[in-house]
Structure formats: structure tokens, C-alpha cells
């Protein structure tokens, strides 16, 4: 770039920055919308024009985690007085918290679904990345017949839109009893992510010079030891990048989760919209559920951001 900018260059520069700002705002708008709705009082959630200034409330989250029923009449004053602060928030919204016969608060389906999402996404990510790393190592380091064909075959599993096989998959899963199980979804997501993981990891491992392992081999290590002591640490960046992509795919997957699960193993994505249908939709609760659902991916990506940045530019620096 020229050290001295002309006036037109400066103007162009400002224009570019403005454009980037506009695009960024556009992309952040839905996130702002969800986040703000998650903290709005119910009556302000659907106003036209949208309410921008409001006093944030925690009540959507209380409602999100509890099982509630509509109140026909106002609560008894003594009940209201005896209730803890969070239960009063529910009363204020014209609902009451459902309690068991022994007076225990009943949880909503959300925490359970959220845990299911975590279990399924983390397990399938670990499986896809570790299997992908091993496979990629094999492809990268050993000569074999039909190597290119095999790699193409692995990639070709991604060419069919997955939803096309949803119904046959459902029938097969039902036949072997995998429907509505954690393992059912884990296997599905692992299979789906594996081809991606193999290809991405192969790129990263190809970048690691073979001499590193050969040095370890002559220094008295077995190939497996060399793999764990040399290749894995060197591939950490690639593993992190691959893991983020696999996690996001598994975490956000909607269609198969909707078809394959309904209660026990249901994940958050199909659960959140299912709440729209019960009675009058409470958008604040849905927004609260979505807001919490966004957090793990955001945190995961934030923690691995340095690896991700290096991962994105892999091949550009090393040689």
C-alpha cells in the first residue's frame, strides 16, 4: 500500500469501512433481536414498532426452566406472599408453577433437552474428530491402492442432501431400536461429520513434515508413540478448527433431531419451536431458550479463536 494516500483513496477507504459496519450490523441484528426479546416483559415482546428501551427481566428464563399452567383467577394473596421471588414472576405473568403432590417444582423439558444437545454434540464431535484424524493420518502417510478413489468416496457421502435419506434412516433406526436414543443421533452426526473431518485433517497433517515422525522413529519411538507425541501436538490447530466445525454442525442440526427423537433423546433445536404451539406463544420464553442455546457455540468458538484463525490460513505460514 502506498505510504501516502490520495484524497480519493481515503474516501474509498472510509466507504469500505462504512460498508463493513453496515454488513456487521446486519449480521448482528438477529442476535440482538433474540437477546433483547429474551429479557423483555411478555407484553413488550411483540409490539409494533419494536420496543427498544425496556427494563430487562429475568422472568423469561424462570418460565423457560419451569413447568407452568395458566391461572384462571388471580393467585391467593397468602400463596403470593409465601412464594419465592422467582415464583412471583410467574404469577405476575398470569401463570403458576406446576408442583408435584409433595410440593416440588416441576422442571420444564428445556434443561433436559439442553443436556441432550450437549451429550450428542460433544460425543459426536470427539468421535468424528478422532476417527477423522486417524484416517487422515493413514491417508497422508501411507501409500495405498485406490487412495484417491477412497478419498473421493469419503467426500461423496456429503453430496446427497441428508434429508433425502431421512425417512429410510428413520425406518432403519426404528427397526434396530436406535430411534429416540442418544447413540442414534451420535452415530448419525458422527457419520455426517466424518467425511468433512477426514478431508480437513488430511490437509493439516499433510502440512506436518514427515521428517518429524521419522526423527522420532530413529530415536527409538514406535509409530503410534510418534503419532501421539509428535503428530497430535503439531496438528492441534487443525484439530481445534475441525472440532469447532463438527460441533457447530451437530449442535445446530434440526431435521434429523426432529424426525429421530421425540422425548428421551430430543435435542434443543426441535424442542424450542415445539413450544410455540402450546397455548398462546410466549416469545420471550422461546427467545430465552434460543439465547441460552447460542451460548455454548459462542463460548467454544471464543476459546479456540486463536487456533481457528491459524487454522483458516493453514498452509500459508508454515513453509
Amino acid at each position: 500500500m502506498a505510504a501516502v494516500q490520495t484524497r480519493s483513496e481515503r474516501a474509498l477507504n472510509r466507504l469500505a469501512i462504512a460498508a463493513v459496519l453496515v454488513i456487521t450490523l446486519l449480521f448482528l441484528a438477529p442476535i440482538y433481536w433474540i437477546t433483547s426479546t429474551a429479557f423483555k416483559p411478555r407484553n413488550l415482546a411483540t409490539t409494533i414498532p419494536p420496543t427498544v428501551v425496556f427494563e430487562p427481566e429475568i422472568s423469561p428464563f424462570v418460565k423457560l426452566f419451569t413447568k407452568r399452567s395458566q391461572l384462571r383467577t388471580a393467585p391467593e394473596p397468602e400463596d403470593y406472599a409465601a412464594a419465592p421471588w422467582w415464583e412471583r414472576l410467574v404469577f405476575d405473568g398470569g401463570e403458576k408453577v406446576v408442583r408435584s403432590g409433595r410440593g416440588e417444582v416441576q422442571l420444564s423439558g428445556y434443561p433436559n433437552r439442553f443436556m441432550n444437545s450437549l451429550i450428542v454434540a460433544i460425543t459426536s464431535t470427539v468421535l468424528a474428530v478422532s476417527m477423522g484424524t486417524f484416517t487422515a493420518y493413514g491417508f497422508s502417510r501411507f501409500k495405498m491402492k485406490g487412495e484417491a478413489d477412497l478419498l473421493f468416496f469419503i467426500l461423496s457421502t456429503r453430496m446427497l442432501p441428508p434429508v433425502v435419506v431421512a425417512i429410510p434412516m428413520f425406518l432403519m433406526y426404528r427397526a434396530v431400536g436406535l430411534n429416540d436414543t442418544h447413540w442414534g443421533l451420535i452415530i448419525l452426526y458422527t457419520a455426517f461429520n466424518l467425511s468433512f473431518s477426514v478431508w480437513l485433517m488430511k490437509g493439516f497433517i499433510d502440512e506436518i513434515p514427515k521428517e518429524y515422525e521419522e526423527a522420532a522413529l530413529v530415536d527409538g519411538y514406535t509409530r503410534l508413540q510418534a503419532f501421539f507425541k509428535i503428530v497430535l501436538p503439531e496438528a492441534a490447530t487443525g484439530i481445534a478448527a475441525t472440532a469447532v466445525f463438527c460441533f457447530i454442525t451437530a449442535w445446530n442440526e434440526y431435521a434429523f433431531a426432529l424426525i429421530m427423537t421425540n422425548r428421551r433423546a430430543q435435542t434443543a433445536p426441535p424442542f424450542i419451536p415445539s413450544q410455540v404451539g402450546s397455548g398462546l406463544p410466549d416469545w420471550t420464553v422461546i427467545a430465552a431458550g434460543t439465547f441460552l442455546f447460542l451460548l455454548p457455540v459462542a463460548i467454544f468458538t471464543f476459546l479456540l479463536r486463536n487456533h481457528l484463525l491459524r487454522g483458516m490460513s493453514f498452509g500459508a505460514i508454515r513453509k
Binding site: P209, E211, Y212, E214, A215, A216, L217, V218, D219, G220, Y221, T222, Q225, K229, I230, P233, E234, A236
Partner: protein
Amino acid sequence: MTQIELRGIEKNFGAVQVIKNLNLAIADNEFIVLLGQSGCGKTTTLRAIAGLETVDEGDILIDGQPVQHLKASHRDIAFVFQSFSLYPHMTVFENIAFPLRATRGNRTDIEREVQAVAKTLQITHLLAKRPSALSGGDMQRVAIGRALVRRPKAMLMDEPIGALDAKLREEMRAEIKRLHIKQGSTTIYVTHDQVEAMSLADRIVVMHEGVLQQVGTPHEVYARPANMFVAQFVGSPVMNMAEVTVSADTGHARVQVWDASTAFDFPSSVTAQLAAAGAENGNVTLGVRPEGVLVSREAREGFVPVEAHIIEPLGSHDIVDLQVGAQMLRARTKSGFVARPGEAVWARINPAQAHFFDSSTGTSFGIRL
């Protein structure tokens, strides 16, 4: 105490035969340099000895034990790579300690050994650093340290200083030599640089297209090349090569170079020696290094008139192209001896530095005058 022996090694990569019936015996403490152009099979040979490459045929013996079926990790041999291959995620200390940790030695022993090696190589101040913070020369010192620390049976080095710049290369060359004299371990060193080979080797092994060409001390390889390939590969500038016709004259022999009208004087014994070696005119190539071409500025007995062409001043001496017939004979002179191109001078070939080769096979007739 490590002897290495290669017996009838053959290796193919697909249809390409990269090593052809290689036989070589390496004595204990010997510094052997495998010298050849890229693709001549020298690196493959080295990797086969290390166990990083399998061989298709033949035996590799270390101290009399065949090892060709042993894994690299069981051969107790150290390897220094051209790329250094230091592990970027480990410190220098951890890099050097890495081979010791394979055998799970205890911590204080490892610490002591690493410190000792670091001291020998004068890299103690670098131990806490990561390889990325090192200069090329220091990286190679660390790589050599990693190879030495285990006290392996033999050290194998694959162009260890090929990636360094010229000045550093010279420095490291001296350092490697000093280290070998001090530590005295059997070393096999691969290079394509004949200067490196000459300066380091106890014996040089010249390879070409997978075939061993000559094994000998640097002096033997330089002064008595076994064939035309070795003659031209070793030595700089390259040896002059010319098809010659030898004829007997009264009291001496006349050697006609190429189609030149003039001929050089040789002792008369050359005709008999050539005949005894089975050489026939039309099949003899004369080789003479530039320092074997004597140049005079005035006509002298036994010198033929030639014309100087290009002069390359190299500081300590000049290399002068002399036109003989239609071709050039390169001569080495004192610097400034021939003042300018186009000058008429007189040249002679020193018979003691002449080599005669079979033109068709390239083999030396082994004639010494």
C-alpha cells in the same frame, strides 16, 4: 565400536531401480561421505541403513548382525535431517531429551546427559528456547545434539548443512569435523557438494544412478578417479575431457586432442601402456584437470601455441579458456598471468596429471605417467 556393511543392496521405486547391487564396508569410527547428484540413490541408501526405507534385496549388517528386518527404532542409529526436523512444540532441552525419554531414563540422568551434550555443542544458553527462535546454524547444532545424546552406534547425516548459507556452511563443516574427531563415532554423511565431501570424509563413496562408482580417500578419488563420471564430478572447475589420437614419434609420443592440428608431447611409454591396457585409437579419452594444463607466455620446448579466450579471475588464481582446435581447454594460472582474452600463449599437458579413459565405457585405463 560399530562396523556397517552393505551386501548386494537393491532397491526399486516402482519401475525405477534406485540402488543397484551396492556393496560397502564401513569401519569403526570412520567418516564416510556418500557423494552424488540428486537422484543417485545416496539418500535412499542412508535411509535404508536407518530403517526408514526397506530394501528389496541384500543385507545390511551392523556389527555383523543383519538389521534389514529390524525397525528403525531398534537399530540404535541417529539420523540428522536436512530440514533439522526439530519439534516446534518442544523447547531445545525437550528436543534433545526426546530420544532419551524413549527409553524412559530417569529425570536426573536425562538432565545430566542433555547438559553435557549442550556444553559440547555450546548451546547451553539456548536450552529454554523454542526452535522457531533459533538461527539456522543453531537449529542444526540442536539437531546434532539430539543425535549425539543417545550415544548411538552410528550417526547418519542427510545433507545436514545443505539448507544453510555459504558462510555458515563452512563454519558448520569445520564444527562437524571437530566433533567427529572428538567424539569418534561411525558416521555416514550424504551430500552433493564435493567440497564438503573432500573436506570431511575419511573415505568418499561416489554414486551415480544407483551404482557405486568409486570408494576411496578424498585424495584417491581426486587424483585417481576410477571413471569419467568421478573424474568430472569431483574437482572444481571440472576436469577437461578430450577424445585423443595417440601416435608414436621419435623419442616421444604425440597426443592429438580432438581434431586440432597441433599435438601435445607425451613420454613415449604412453603408447606401450595404452596398448597393454587394451586401448585403441578412437576409443581413448584424455582427462586433465585445469592445474594439469601448463601455460607459458613464450614458446618453449614441448609447448604448443594456443589462443586465450575467456579469463575468470578467482582471486587466488585464474581459470583461462585456451582454444585448441575448435574446442576449449581450461587451464589454471597464477592470477593475472594471461593479461587479456585473445592473447597468444603456449600450453602443455603435464603427463603426470593426465588420465586416460575408455571412451565407450568411461572406465579409467589406470595409466600413471
